[in-house]
Amino acid sequence: MDLFDNLVLGFQICLTWSNLGYCLLGVVIGTLIGVLPGVGPVMTIALLLPVTFGLAPSSALIMLAGIYYGAQYGGSTSAILLNLPGETSSVVTCLDGHQLARRGRAGAALGVAALGSFFGGCAATLLIVLFAPALAAVGLKFGPAEYFSLMVLGLVAAVVLAHGSLLKAVAMTVLGLLLGLVGMDVNSSFVRFGFGLPELSDGLGFVVVATGLFGFAEIVANLTARESRSVATSDVHHLWPTRADWRASTAPVLRGTALGSLLGILPGGGAAMASFAAYTLEKRLSRHPERFGHGAIEGVAGPETANNAAAQTSFIPLLTLGLPSNPVMALMVGAMMIHGITPGPQVATQNPDLFWGTIVSMWIGNLMLVVLNLPLIGLWVRLLRVPYRLLYPAILLFGAIGVYSLNNSVTDLLLAAGFGALGYLLIRLECEPAPLLLGLVLGPLMEENLRRALLLSRGDATVFLTKPISLALLLLAVALLVLVISPAIRRTRDVAFQE
């Protein structure tokens, strides 16, 4: 039994004291930054990348993965208790979770959120175990044409699922692709857009851009809006949901798991999109939609389950095809590259310890989270009392050290400061930064595969249409675009987003 052997290997990797420690460290850091608004997993992982240099690759990935899904748990705590989303994926949890808290039922809301997250996380991890090896096997058959088409599909999906204007999301993606081309061209050793700076010949560092766009720009945006954080914490007790809560939450948790798992796999989806979709779905299906927004437990159970499920399944395209589906996964690519592992379908066969160790660690991490989080809620709440004016200089300082320590490069720091200013400008112009970051990672890969595909076909561009897998992927991309542009669908989609 192959699967069984693989799982045993995974457990052997995870159940060492050091890896259990890194997993615990990851989920605790994740919960911490999840609770704190204004510090996200992208920024934290970017910051910790250089620190993981000295670790074994599997330990590094186990810890970084823990940060991502740990943040999904933490985000719900501040959403429910303070009406303040710790992460964007918990925005909808505020709607009903905080209403429940105001009615003295904070404990039930927190309990349902944690247990739902646990269920969603475990079920999604099982999906990875079942489907990832098969998908990786398919991925091994991919040639350059198939990879190019897959990336086109990925970028289209990312654009379709992004918030805000479609056109702007497309433009941000193209801008990201262009920024990704800065540096040495691998085929001709020709330095592009280097402007004579030797630091640029290696390309723009992903961490540099991510820290600037997500970390520094976010701080400026938060400072522009005046701080208004009222810590109105009611006492939290009775964390275990009542029998009625169980009955009301079971179906939403199951639906949230399915929806979240699906949206997590899609590029550009990820946790935030999943929670929005799950909330909309629950409200649609409810026999009493008017209760939503006034403390409906389903409105907490569905989205919180979905965002955790999505956080897990978004690892599937990364581990099987080497394609990042969101900025956090793009950072994981960076983490693997630091250790000399090229992400792609060969990871499952060439680095089985890393592959299965990471997957099994997700289950263990989820278990740690549900055991740790509920008793520690009081501690997280106290942490929220730290005012932002003391917090942001610290975030800024850690970000700056993270960027510098990656290459000991002063130029990188100045570039990050520049991208921070650019990021703030883009936020002001209502342009989402996430598609740019995806483009940045995929830019060189796309060009590489486009060139190779056309070289093999001697310049015949129809190669993308004559290979069946490539054609199917491109047709899927076109179908997605048509769906979004068609007016009827767009109207329902707008309605969905408004709710």
């Binding site: 433009a171 801008l175 262009l178 085929n187 945006a221 932002y388 200089p393 300082l397 320590s405 310049g459």
Partner: protein, 164 residues
Amino acid sequence: MPRNGTRFDCKNLQAGALFAGAGAGFAAVASGYPLGTAARMGPGWFPLVLGLLLVALGALVALAGGAGAERPASDQPAASPRDEAASAIGWRPLLHVTLSVTAFALLIEPAGLVAASVALVLLSASGGWEFRWTEATALAGSLAALVVGLFAYALHIPINVWPV
């Protein structure tokens, strides 16, 4: 978030101009690189095509952004307080945050981690809403001690602590 038409159009116009300008810049530089043929692409081919595409997208954003593909403003998740309160550009925080990172960059090699950290914390803290010298100095001192202990001594990251 203000939903009056003028502000929206203005933002689209600026965003469009930004994209078109960036695209034109990339395309102009790329057109100076060897282009090659489709079968054997040179380093200039892909960036030139993408740059021109970005110019076209920028024009579309500027022109059609108001109607067409624009979704209602309310679909933005009310993720952070900035969505409600941001109406003026925060020049002050922008300046302070950018300057503080720049100062850190310029100080880290000649003056070391301690001086660079203190400069970053003081410069960034003074860009916030409530700034108190005593509090900021205490924060700068304790954060500097923390990062020196954590990064230089615990994690052994090669970094100058004191001026060289």
